[in-house]
Amino acid sequence: MQRLIVTILAVLIPADAMAEETVETEVDAILKSAWMEAGVQPSSICSDEQFLRRVTLDLVGRIPTVPEREQFLSRPDRSALIERLLNSSEFPTFWGELWTTQLFGYETSNADRDTLALWLHDQFRGNRPYDQIVEDLLTSTGESAFNGPVNFLLRYADEPVVKVSRAFLGVRLDCARCHDHPFDRWTQTDFRQMNRFFEATERQDVSAGNVRLVDVVREVSAEDRPRFLTGAEPRTTQWRAEFALFMTRSRPFARNFANRLWYHFMGRGLVHPADDFNASNPASVPALLEHLAEEARSNGFDFRHMIRVICSSQAYQRQSVSPKDDQLRHTLFAVRTIKPLTPEQWYESMCIATGQASRSRDRDNLVRAFFGDDLNADFSSTWEYRETVQGLMSRLVDPVRSPARSLDELFIRFLGRSATSEELEKCAGRSLGEVSFALLHSSEFAFNH
């Protein structure tokens, strides 16, 4: 009887009783030691509103709706929110798109981007382990219009090892293309031997927009055989298949996976930039990188598990407000690094805020406007983009009637928070349409913080 009463009490006690203690994970413990060593003070835990916006953007690629906000704030269970988002149908859609962009970019002339995106969406929906996804990307054969993963290698038909080593190992092997790597140990021979793994393939044109990738047998002398960076060499004619296993069973593969996920959620990699693991660019918190890599390996490269691990950590939930020149705290993740929304996130969020339906054509236009003509270039280098984007934003927003009836509601829709008295004062006398436009262009809207 006593136990039953206690148990009932346990059910009734609010989840807040867990407080900070319960969300302090191994990740936080490792970071805590790093902060103590560096004499750094972490920022406080972010508010529920901030957490909701942050995690919704990171997991489903848009800001939360007003009902979602109300529902969460009435029972602010952060773990439950993460679970709900992970189980939503938007998660595989956004993550499929996210990884398509990471793996393929926006270029569409070489291969079928959409077929790859559709395949990746299905993989995320089925929660397929990352190592198996990569194995398929590296070893698939078949027609590009029907078999999504072949499009990855078809996209990088010329020296695919450059993209493969960057994407899956975080190694810039292209630096060893013309000469030995200036900051690492990789030589031109390493580059050639790695690239040779992909020489046992053939590209056959089937029809317009449909290319078939097939394996062929290459008979070469022992010294001309491919060689993986670990020193492993193929023993059969199935070079790509062996390469895939050499890679997915290697520790650098796990580290890179962990680092890429960390980068996505934290806005900064443990090794930063995320695709530049080299001797002169060590991880800012090596123990954490190893821990996350081990976590990934021991849990079968389960995306959702890793996301839970990262999003449940205090590190992910820290405030992003910090003074200038606070580089050390950012490097050690004592403060959350802010990151700009991707064009896809921005567009979907804009649709949520303004109450418009999302249209793929408008979305594609916005992406194109963000990146200018050169879709693979760094958009920040094209100074024209801002004007173009602004123009497009205006076009998208102008015909929309104000989705809210009051200023406060407008702030909640766009920024996920109520307006401050100062903001209310500044906006007094302005139409809701004007304020909508201003909010849409505000950095608070355009960044995930």
Partner: protein
Amino acid sequence: MISEWFALLLRASFLLLITGSCVTLLSRLYPVRSARWHRLAWGAVLLQGVVLVPISLTIEIPAWLAASSILSAESSETSDALSEHVPVGVSAISRISRNTPEPNAGASADSNATFQYILPSPQTDVSDAGENSIPSMSSSGPVLSAVGSADLPDARPRELSASEPNVSQQRVHPHAGSTEVAVSVTEKLMTAAGRVGWIRWLSAAWICGVIGLAGFGLAGYVILNLALLRARPARRSWVKELQNLSLELNLDRRVALDVHPVVGPLICRTPGGYRIVVPIGLWSELSSDERIAVLHHELSHLRRGDLWKSLLARLVLILHWFNPLAWTSARRFEESAEWACDAMMAGEQPARVVHLANALLTATAAREGSPVLALSATGGPLFQRVRRLVSWDQQGDTVMQRVVWGGLLCPLVSLSLFQLQFAEPATEQPATAAIASAETSEDEQQNPRTESVPAQMSGELKEIADRIIGSDQGNLKKLVALMKTPTGRIVMADRAALHAQDAAGDPDDVSRWQQFVSEHFKRNGSAFSVNPAFQAKCDEYVAAVSDAEADVKLIELILKETAAALDTSTEPAQFLQRFLNHEGAPAFVYMNELRSRLHPRIEDLSDVFSEMLVRNSEGQFVIRPVRRRAVEERLRNIERFQPMLKRFHEELTAWSEDLADPDRRHTNLKSMLADPGVAVFLASRDLTEDDEPDDEHFDDYFYLLEEATNDAPAGLILNAESEQLQEIESELRRYSAVRQNRSVLEKPLQELIDRLDQSDDLHVRLKAYLSTDLALMIMVREMDYSAITADDAAREWLSDLVTQGDNGKYTITSESPEDVKSRCEDFFREFRELRRRGRSLDEFASQLVDRNLAAAIRTLSGKLLLQELVENSAKRSDVDGLQLWVSAHFEETAEGLKLHDWADEEINAILHEAAELEEQFSKTDF
């Protein structure tokens, strides 16, 4: 029936009460320290509550004794009668009950009647049973039943087992006193119950209590699980502690460690598996050693199976909820489990004793803020438990204590558990068990257990592995196991690739031509005739050559005309002039540059449709998987567009009727506007299938018509000077040209439609749409097709290369004159090769029966088109390398695949290769 069950329950409860009282007294008067003894004793007490039906133990008596004994078996008739009235499980005890009151053999002449007094059948009125039971009561007592075997001729004792209670109608040993006491009590209870008549009310109350308590327990479990929803995985360092401890204790079961704001520490079994739940506050306060000690204690529960034993204890409690001793016993039983786990931990790791004691004290101190749920912290008075812990090594009991406890517990347990019976020597061994065993074995052979096949194993390899004979031994066993691994798949794929490569080869042009001739032509002596199956294709070829030759002639004129006026002051220009004058140039220009413009083919059309359609390697056109939704949307839009198109045509017809008819220009326009094809052609302008259709789409045309006409008494008169009229007439001229050359486009479009996949409804709908005029016109618009003659096309093509100056001379205007030169050189090379190969084609043509075909092949464009036809006809056969490997090394037999004697080496080689590969896989870092 109810009363029978209830009587059995009361009997068990009575025995529990007696045993429990004995153990309580013993604990007070002659206590032992060992937790094991406590556990055993209270377990024995609880056991009394579940043994509703005792286990019959038959002791075979010697033959000499049997002969002189009064013991004998009962009749089978009695047994049959019994089985009619009682459930099988109850029959044993029922029969014992019957035995007891039987005063003597003679009195049991009508044994059925006697039995029914005691165990009324459902048809028997309770009151009657009550009356009849009085004599039984009066004669009951520890008296041996003695039914003479002579009276029951077919009686034969059988060996009994606990699983056969229905055949346990044997004699009770005259000295099995305790059993008889119990039986007697049961009988009295039953009789009393029957006499009073309110047994049903008591039963109902008992059932209510059972349901209530069971519901209470179940609700408790559900609430616990709800509470645990708030539990979260513990920190990795804490989990690590648990993992290390599990390793230390050789515990192979997975146990999760969760933290909760208030619940714990406890170990429980939830739908997700075993979990240890600890309160976050307490756990943070404890040191690592203390945490490990508590975990050790909790894991001891798991290792000892305490969770399930406690559940059983609870079930007993539910059955005997009305018995206060049952509550006490369950409590003491669980308490002793805590002591036992403490003792177990202390025995394995004495150093942890102090840590656990400290943890208990901390937990108690923290109880105010963190209610503790489990017995780990509340098991008995804390003082007593801690004292037991710290003096665990002094817990030895004397031999006398053990003897006394053992001596008392054994008879107590046997009181209800066993029923001793004596049987005459068996004369025959029943064969049932053996037969059953044999049947089971046979069943197993017929339905062998299938092993789960690893998902990653490919279907083909699995099929091969399944068919290999002798795959359960030696290297073949290893091979089959290897096939299930990624390494095995790679090695087998390697074998398959090598065999496929050897078998396939790469056909050269000569062998491709020979294959083409042998497939499509029939040889009669030295002459070749076309196979009927190829005739249609052949006719198409001849027609295409005819078209090409007509165009080539026109192109030749233009090329030569340009060559004559070319300024040849530069080397590239000289090369170009040589090219333009070359005999082969017109045919090459036609084939490479102008053909798709003059005679569009399916390839040219598929470019238009490439966004939604794709041709696969089988040559079939399929909707792109990623575009299915878009295609659906397009078809929906087209369907919505049809009524608007109809209205548009009706309105144009009305305009046609409004037009006056003063001259030919008016007549032309009048007739054109009434043509339904015009409506479709005009509507297709600026219309893509993605557009959401609306009537405003046509507004522009009516604006043009309004501007191009003026009202007059006779009707509408054309405004000859207006630009709008010119624009309308231009569109209509284009339509006329399209209508005139419609077949040029319809032919490839029909070919595309014929090759469209028809596997689902969407494809069928698309096919229907593509067959419409609207689809054709939209295609014309998207191709930007306009009818053009070969000479105009040649001029247009040349305009990209050369420009005519004021002096009438042509100069190269291409951005790269060197490129022009290079293209000319390529042409000369290709032409020479074609000329060389063409000689054998001419020879072949001379042997053809079909003169038209022969003439077509002899032309240059005919040779170029034939080359294309041969290439398209060549099929690359897909070779199944794996099957080749299998047939090379295995013999196909009726039983399966039998490895050739000489193929052992291959299997060894594969295994060796796999081992080498595994070694390479072990290099995991750089």
